[in-house]
Symmetry: D2
Subunit: 102 residues, 4 copies
């Protein structure tokens, strides 16, 4: 299991990107993988190949009508762990000693 954070957007559609991001999030939400959406991207949790499969599906949907696309991905793998979408946050809050803004 990995955490895979990604963001993806077209460069040839002007500065308002939410319609294109929404297209990706509909794919993420239907993927069956657990995820969290935040202001700078989306975090998936699952096997690496399934997470990359979601990124590819989002890319194909965007490439259907976009001439240039940028995508950044960050992967964090820790052997034998899952449920890390929540546990990583809890572990840091525990050490800081108070709730953080989420």
């Amino acid at each position: 299991m990995v955490l895979l954070e990604f963001s993806m957007f077209p460069l040839d559609k002007g500065e308002s990107l939410s319609p294109y991001v929404a297209r990706s999030l509909a794919i993420v939400d239907a993927s069956g993988l657990d995820y969290r959406f935040h202001a700078m991207g989306t975090i998936l949790e699952g096997p690496l190949d399934q997470c990359l499969g979601v990124v590819e599906k989002c890319f194909e949907a965007m490439a259907a009508d976009c001439g240039r696309i940028e995508c950044s991905v960050k992967i964090d793998y820790r052997k034998g762990r899952q449920g890390r979408l929540d546990s990583k946050i809890a572990s840091v809050e525990d050490k800081v000693g108070r709730p953080l803004k989420k």
Copy 2:
């Protein structure tokens, strides 16, 4: 105003990183900037120089006892906008037509 997402961790302290991330989050939480903490990083909102100043403070605190440090930063600037930690999410949810997991 920008959104600046960052993550920072030492490479020479083994695989359990939350004590080091907690050190950064204490600095973020005390900075006065609005922020959101998630499983793969922290998003700050503010003027670029103030956001970079927080990243530098976190780096200095980590470099005090760490021999190798990795940090990734992503910046999203949109002229004349603020409150985007929440509004970007709302705008995408509005287009998807249902609430997303956050």
Copy 3:
């Protein structure tokens, strides 16, 4: 065709990472895809699925003996273009009006 830049390293092996990076580069070099290696990562050029396939192979080779792995990926797609490992650099040098350090 996309350009896909990636870097990947273990977090549980101390601060000297070149033996692990070398393992990935041997996979990259044998992949048949065109690539460039630089001080902060490797850039592949090819179809998205083939480029992601190389990243997955590198990940599997690293996960064989590493307990925590970080990987960052950046993708740049431009419809109908190839040979961009060189042409993007030439295009910027042309606008700057002099050779840049490469």
Copy 4:
């Protein structure tokens, strides 16, 4: 000393970005810091505050006429080392046992 890799581009100027990238590279080239330019970004070597200062200058030059800007930054700090723009590559090539494409 750190290695700081960054890329920066406007989202509201269409898909041809080299004129904007060239503006940043002119700033980088005049900064006095050692650097390498590649197809997906630029790597600076220097003290963290000076490297971030170059990123800020590039941002200000771009924000002068761009309404939305994306920037990604990756920092690699290793205590007591310099000359790593070249030595990191040499160290990996040495382990692979043959020259890599650069």
